[in-house]
Symmetry: C2
Subunit: 102 residues, 2 copies
């Protein structure tokens, strides 16, 4: 890997993943599709508005799909796309580092 | 890996690495010890104050060492500690994902 110049794709990835709560939300969704409330349960300090905003951004970035099931009452689940699931090595390497060094 | 509950060490790692500019600074330093000016060259949009603040935080977190060489004029270099060098898999997995998906 060439560390002598900055890479725009790396910068873009950092911009996306470095946003507050995003790294936590992706980790939760690696556990499978989740409802809004289920995500909140693992990240209780995050406000509803913040989670709503982040989920919209993650949908726009095609990292998360929002699935609406027409039941009564309607059920909405968020799940990682292939692009999102491919973040698993990132999340796992952060977890490993945290366990070893923090 | 257990995704069913949030891990405090993961949260702490995300808190540290997710700060604006930090992911870029660590990538630059994976290329070897660097002077302030050399870091700035790869991240020109970052202000001097921001870089100064981030380097202090990274020193406090023991991710970066600040080496002062008593030459004329004095030479100061920043280098990753072992804790910092162990972030290489994190940086590389972000780079890989960025190249493949952005």
């Amino acid at each position: 890997m060439d560390y002598s110049t900055m890479c725009p794709k790396y910068e873009a990835a950092i911009e996306l993943l470095g946003k507050k709560w995003t790294g936590l939300i992706i980790r939760v969704l690696l556990g499978g599709p989740k409802r809004f409330k289920e995500i909140k349960e693992q990240i209780p300090e995050m406000s509803d508005k913040m989670l709503t905003d982040r989920m919209k951004e993650l949908e726009t970035s095609q990292i998360v799909n929002r699935n609406v099931y027409p039941e009564m009452p309607v059920r909405i689940e968020y799940e990682l796309t292939e692009k999102g699931r491919n973040l698993k090595p990132v999340i796992e390497s952060i977890q490993d580092w945290g366990e070893n060094w923090l």
